[in-house]
């Protein structure tokens, strides 16, 4: 179980903001934690998957996509802020993510 530091939080935030600014072709200043990924940015689940892959590699995470999928079905994310929170939970709990629900 990884410890989430301020540095990790800032890194994750930076990656997520940069990713959506580039992929959705919007100025970074137009994105904030309340920005709705689908309604405001026309984003989709493929972007979510790509971000997961990036974080899996960056933090050498031991978690299968289907575990994240199961968690996401029960805890859907709509905004950039919610997505960042979920990524931090994935980094922190890895394959034990589903135990959070018990």
């Amino acid at each position: 179980m990884a410890r989430i530091t301020e540095n990790t939080k800032n890194e994750v935030r930076e990656i997520v903001y940069s990713f959506f600014a580039e992929e959705c072709e919007v100025d970074r200043s137009q994105i904030n934690d309340n920005t709705n990924i689908i309604k405001d940015l026309d984003g989709d689940s493929l972007m979510f998957l790509e971000l997961i892959e990036i974080f899996k590699k960056k933090y050498t995470l031991d978690i299968e996509l289907k575990v994240i999928g199961k968690y996401a079905v029960k805890n859907p994310v709509a905004t950039i802020g919610e997505l960042i929170d979920m990524q931090l939970l994935i980094i922190e709990h890895e394959k034990r993510l589903l135990e959070l629900e018990k």
Binding site: E50, K58, I68, K70
Partner: protein
Amino acid sequence: MNKIGIIGHGKMGSGIFNYLVDFDFGLVLLVGPEADTDKIQKQLHRRIRRSIDAGIMEEKQGKRIKQTPISMDPTVLADCDLVIEAIPENLALKVKLFSDLDNIVKPACIFASNSSSINPSLLSPGNDRSDKTIGLHFFYPVAMKNIVEFTTSLHTSANTVEVVSSFLRKIHKDFLLLDDQNSFLLNRIFLDFQNEAYHLVTQEKCSMEQMDQLVREHFFPFGVFDFCDSVGIDTMLNSVKNYVENYSDTAYYQPFVSKLENLCHQGRYGLKTNAGFYDYPSANTATLHPEALSEIVSHLRLTWLNSVRRFAASANLPADQMNDALVAYFDIDKGPL
């Protein structure tokens, strides 16, 4: 199998394409006239660059994927070994597509349809291709759902089954090999459940909100009615009609079909129109008396178990394989058998 063509760039087409990018195939993407090929190309290139930067993809692989033809011209599929169509769920459109492609692609190419309700035997363009026309029903999101329904017809050859099975193993997908009498088995099992849940609601055993809540608590990660709204009521209606048309007990499903038809007539197509079974945003909270809850849960559990057993027996699937498929499809912890 070296070269694979994906046809369509909707939710499923792009999902299958993006999933296959990570494997060592030559890929071709055929899109409809409404698609912006430049935009799709730019998105793909950005994704490749980010993946290389993040160390997920090697330069060499990125370079290969960048060569992927993305086109509206079907002749780009000419030398494919397998084409997978993921165009809208419309029989006439799919038949025309396969018929047109039959004259373009090489004779050995296998035609696969990602249809969720149309059997491959209805899509075959003719005798020479009928042994190579199959159903490959991927589930959304493709990267996360590890199960595929592989449907054959009476004419499908043993070689086609072998080649496609090997392809599915290579891309790390578990699959159910089904004949077209037992096609779309997972959706049909869920339809029985949805139908019974709707029946109980119409009998005023509980409200829709209460039903969805108890289904989420006791069965699946999603409710029955919010699932329909999420898929799209029009899509649900087309699929359900296709599933039940050859059933001997179509009357049993008729109230549910009529409800879906009524919602469509009202323009309530689900989440995409902010209205379906529910109006959105929906509070969707409701509690039920414990006795009523227990009665409904028992009733649905019996429906679920009967349906799973019946379909597993009909498709001759061992309990383990059935359970694994249900776990993957419903995102549940264990199967019922």
